[in-house]
Amino acid sequence: MSGPSTYEPKTGFTRWMDQRLPIIRLGYDSFVDFPTPRNLNYWWTFGGILAIFLVIQIISGIVLAMHYVPHESMAFESLERIRRDVKFGWLIQSMHANGASFFFVAVYIHMFRGLYYGSYKAPREILWILGVVIYLLMMATGFMGYVLPWGQMSYWGAMVITNLIGALPFIGDAIREWLWGGFSVGQATLSRFFSLHYLLPFVIAAVVALHIWALHVPGNGNPVGIEPKSKKDTLPFHPFYTVKDGFAIIVYLIVFAAFVFFLPNVLGHADNFIPADPLSTPAHIVPEWYYLPFYAILRAITFDIGPIDAKLGGVIAMFGAILILFVLPWLDTSKVRSMRFRPVTRVFFILFVLACLGLGWCGAKNPDDLVFAIGHDAEGVATGFKFVWFAQLLTFYYFAYFLIVLPVMGLIEKPLDRPASIEAAVLGTAKA
């Protein structure tokens, strides 16, 4: 879609600049005159929202690092000093902590958007893969950031997650010790997590630049999944999508501000207001909400699979659940991008979204808790459908969606008739 540049420098300075470093031309072609499908809906605004939140996180994070002390015996107190004594520290800390959650909400919506509208299909495979890389980096950054306050949940969350590495055969213990820099989560771990938590956002920013580059070669996908064919199918990015994205960003910021100012701690965990104590484990270790589905998949594997024991099996399943996204463009055999024209697969997609949410629910619960009770056993203890079984069911569906539904449905489903072009779609059908 990125055709020949239409930029014409008008002043002496811009002409001079254009012959030396055509950065104004780049900006103009990418964000002003960039031809964008005219039918993008609000689900397409989350890319812009994510860019804003990356900036919010980096700026607030740099500021927090000016006051934070990455030391076992001072980290917790330094965070309280930020909240209590540093000017506007309470605000900046709340923005950063809640910002992480809002970043993940946006990235999940962005990803489900991509899944629904087939944004991963040719010629956008690299664009999709770069997105998965960003998501992985976000997971790592968020995990290490949650360790820094050095509260109980920070410490024990770090303990549980790093112990997963120990499940790897032969090299697990060595890698875990290397990661810890000691025999347990401790000062060395805290220092390196702080260093990496500072570094990774800039790596994310670099991959985001590649992501946008990869976006601007084929151009945006769109809800009908048909590539623009003529100028009538597109609009210049500015002012049409700057204003639309801008409006969406402000609405999202309203929700964000409501949390930052009025519910600053509801997305966190009470136990993280207790300083880390290696001698006492919280009753119920839960990761941040955005990891819960994967935590549920991890705990769903309670059985040995051949030579693989349950613990390693859980780790493989958890990482597999993310890594499978890398090969998604080649798993989906359908030539039709948008689920709008795939009535049966769309039902499977809805179930997939519900399965992800259900896995999140399972991740927050004790595996032995009951989803619903059926009766009582001989000792009067309630029996019923356990969360771990529910998680196993949903884990199966999670993988089945990628490994069975998408490959098979692409071959057997007869898609609905599609409009000839975006223009025809816009003008031809009344909106519901």
């Binding site: 209590r84 207001f273 207790i274 949410l357 629910w361």
Partner: protein, 267 residues
């Protein structure tokens, strides 16, 4: 739009799962209480915070530390002794007087010895015990937690602490065995804790003449502890109202601009 409906349903499901999560675990759910500082416009009842401070000093402080609270905090914006006359809390005579009532270890002096001096506004409330080991040793092995963040560090913080303080009168169920040095309280996880009921009718004599009932004292001390955990709450809410107001107006302006720009474009 199909996809919109899917996401709305999904978000609703997410909200429900959050609620279900909060309801788990064996202890009795804390009783809900209406707090003066609740809601987006709620402010601290200054007099309740002052009375709560008195309870902390006279009752809780014999076992529980309050490490994160400095005396100056009492006179800072949002604090119980905030005063327009003394914008610098260090000069607030009430703060100075409260601080001077404590002896603080300082030093070493020129001879290398530690010494005690009267507290200054910049000092924190001194801990009743020198270290956690001493605290455990003096309390039958149980460590009295620091109270600075107790309201944030428990789920349903304020309601939980209030329910716990009022929950000692309950009949011990038959299947619960209360060992020596333990006390039954249905609001505590597991039902048994080392702390005996810290409050009793009239255990403090309020300097402002308020009657020291159990209800009154529980509300006051929890209000004080809520302030201690979140001293900038009022500033936070005030700024929040302004920010939301601004964002709403900004959103309306941008929406009008959006409608104008897209007015003649079918999409």
């Amino acid at each position: 739009m199909k996809m919109t409906r899917i996401f709305v349903a999904a978000l609703a499901a997410l909200g429900l799962s959050g609620l279900a999560w909060a309801a788990s675990s064996g202890q009795r759910a804390p009783e809900h209480h209406h707090w003066h500082n609740a809601g987006p416009f709620g402010t601290f009842d200054r007099e309740a915070v002052q009375r709560g401070l008195q309870i902390y000093q006279e009752v809780c402080a014999s076992c529980h530390s309050l490490d994160l609270i400095k005396f100056r905090n009492l006179g800072e914006t949002g604090g119980p002794f905030e005063s327009a006359e003394f914008p610098n809390a260090n000069d607030n005579p009430i703060v100075m007087q409260i601080a001077a009532g404590y002896m603080i270890e300082d030093g070493p002096d020129d001879a290398g010895d530690m010494f005690e001096r009267p507290g200054l506004p910049s000092d924190a409330f001194p801990s009743p015990f020198a270290n956690p080991q001493q605290a455990r040793g003096s309390n039958g092995g149980a460590l009295p937690p620091d109270l600075s963040l107790i309201v944030k560090a428990r789920s349903h913080g304020a309601d939980y602490v209030r329910s716990l303080l009022l929950g000692y009168d309950e009949e011990v169920p038959e299947d619960v065995h209360v060992a020596a040095g333990q006390h039954y309280n249905p609001y505590f996880p597991g039902g048994l804790l080392a702390m005996a009921s810290p409050l009793s009718e009239g255990i403090v004599t309020y300097s402002d003449g308020t009657e020291a009932t159990m209800e009154q004292m529980s509300e006051d001390i929890v209000t004080f502890l809520t302030w201690a955990a979140d001293p900038h709450m009022e500033a936070r809410k005030q700024m929040g109202v302004m920010v939301l107001l601004y964002l709403f107006i900004f959103a309306i302006l941008v929406y009008i601009a959006y409608r104008q720009i897209w007015a003649n474009v079918k999409h």
